[in-house]
């Protein structure tokens, strides 16, 4: 029996699909009946993710999405192979922990390029009339609670995640007339390779502090993927231009 929460017959693009939140998103969406187009750089890890998907009309694209001139052709290819796009999850992103005194302009530029600009460029292309599902589409950008909270050593990361939060509001207003909804998810610390690497660079004390600030403990990729699935489903029909905080209570303090 169909449910308003499933993703049957939806063609969904997921970036950062080779690991962490992106990978779990792809898996969860396939379990809910979606056709998933997985994009990431690492071909082997993409194939690993692909092998874990439920049956469906799925596609792998191995591509460095910061090569802006290649983006149109990968979206065109996706639509030709799978069909018009009903969903897009931007889960590619990098982390950086470095105090202000050590920051350089090029570090901010790299962070913004991957965490923000590439996402917006992809949204620009996917939202074109020739690629998008005219009746129904939903974009979800994975931001972070660090987009609304601060932490020492995280100026570049916080500002890039904050940029997504405000950017999607403008995008939501602009794309509403095309029936495209645009929202952000703000995860707390989720157990992924990226957060594990970050933890390794911190002292045991700092690590414990961060874990203790999550009343419900650290998150799992499934927690974020489930929230994404809701925002891509018909159940969130009337939700656009907003942030969904999924952080185990971290920001409630």
């Amino acid at each position: 029996m169909d449910s308003i929460f499933d993703l049957k017959n939806k063609n969904i693009i997921v970036t950062g699909a080779s690991s962490g939140i992106g990978r779990q998103c792809a898996i969860t969406f396939s379990q809910l009946g979606a056709n998933v187009i997985l994009i990431a750089r690492n071909k082997e890890r993409l194939k690993d993710t692909f092998d874990k998907l439920e049956k469906g009309n799925h596609l792998i694209i191995s591509q460095d999405i910061t090569e802006y001139d290649k983006l149109e052709q990968i979206i065109k290819y996706s639509v030709e192979k799978i069909g018009r796009i009903s969903g897009f999850v931007y889960s590619a992103g990098i982390e950086m922990t470095l105090p202000l005194r050590s920051m350089q302009p090029s570090y901010y530029e790299k962070m913004f390029s991957i965490n923000v600009i590439t996402g917006f460029e992809l949204a620009k292309i996917i939202s074109k009339t020739k690629y998008i599902n005219k009746d129904w589409a939903s974009f979800v950008f994975i931001s972070s609670v660090m987009g609304i909270l601060g932490q020492p050593g995280k100026i570049a990361y916080c500002s890039s995640k904050g940029a997504l939060i405000s950017g999607i509001k403008a995008m939501a207003l602009e794309l509403a007339k095309k029936n495209i909804r645009v929202n952000c998810i703000l995860p707390g610390v989720v157990e992924t390779e990226m957060s594990n690497e970050m933890f390794q660079r911190l002292s045991e004390e700092s690590k414990k502090e961060i874990i203790d600030m999550h009343p419900l403990g650290l998150g799992k990729p499934e927690d974020i993927a489930d929230a994404c699935a809701f925002l891509l489903s018909n159940a969130s029909r009337w939700i656009t231009g907003t942030n969904l905080i999924v952080d185990g209570g971290y920001s409630a303090r």
């Binding site: 922990t97 470095l98 105090p99 005194r101 050590s102 020492p152 050593g153 390794q200 660079r201 911190l202 002292s203 004390e205 700092s206």
Partner: protein
């Protein structure tokens, strides 16, 4: 890199702006107020920038004096 230059870079990374605060090769970094986990990240960035070496923060457990830090980087880098 000259040892004096390195000490100056280190003082920058630690944000020690007081010129009178003396840092020598025997200074124990762990006893400095400014030496915290964020400073370690600054030092790692400084080492990468000046020597092209990426030292993981876990290696800093072994660091005590400025001299021991220079050993971690490799004494051959200093004149």
């Amino acid at each position: 890199m000259k040892k004096k230059e390195f000490v100056d870079e280190l003082k920058d990374a630690l944000e020690i702006e007081d010129e009178d605060q003396e840092i020598t090769l025997e200074t124990n970094l762990k006893e400095l107020e400014e030496y915290d986990s964020l400073s370690v990240l600054s030092i790692i960035a400084m080492i990468d920038k000046n020597f092209g070496k990426q030292i993981p923060s876990s290696d800093f457990v072994k660091v005590t004096t400025v001299s021991s830090l220079m050993e971690l980087i490799g004494k051959e880098h200093f004149d």
